[in-house]
Symmetry: C2
Subunit: 134 residues, 2 copies
Amino acid sequence: MLDRIDHVALAVSDLDASLDHYREVWGLEVSHRERIPDEGIEEAMLPLGESFIQLIAPLEGGGTIGRYIERRGEGLHHIAYVVEDIGAALAGLKAKGARLIDEAPRPGGSGNLIAFVHPAGNRGVLVELIQRPA
Amino acid sequence: MLDRIDHVALAVSDLDASLDHYREVWGLEVSHRERIPDEGIEEAMLPLGESFIQLIAPLEGGGTIGRYIERRGEGLHHIAYVVEDIGAALAGLKAKGARLIDEAPRPGGSGNLIAFVHPAGNRGVLVELIQRPA
């Protein structure tokens, strides 16, 4: 069902400072950066092997990532898996009792279809499913 | 400096139940399982693409993972990167001001050399470096 890890998402309070940190300390460079005002975030993708490190920062106003950082601090936020058929994956997860945040796939960045699975019932891990454009 | 993601480590309270969960819900199978009494943990590796999902559970007595779960609950714990030369990587990180938990590489499972980097000074993310055996 799962193809590979698409990305590991890290919540950061300051995207520019964090991109400097990841370049200088870890040698990782940004390949894509995008503001998503609807979700109150700005994200950046840093390629590593077949996956990415994703940095997510709150836009002005906070949003869910701002509240997450207030409550838990900066750090690991979620893991995203590539699936071939996100509709089939969601139907399968629902049949197995997983708690879906998104009952149906929705458009993400870069032409992807995405859906989130709730950490409750998944051993505390927030999961994003991603279907790449054909 | 970094080759790829070796694994994403998830803290779980019950390894057997979690392996069942990952098999039934996510279709991931365990390839290696090991008790590490010195660290008070049992770990299991689930291959996915070029990386692994690692489940870590506390042995009787709790240890650092038991205390982590008490404080934060089950969930994402750390991220591990493959490096070619772990000695050079640690020296470089130290020169850049990273806070090393292990100043020198130490033996991990499967003949690997490993070292941990503290989340303080790394935007809240605990990192493990891994050099595979030659």
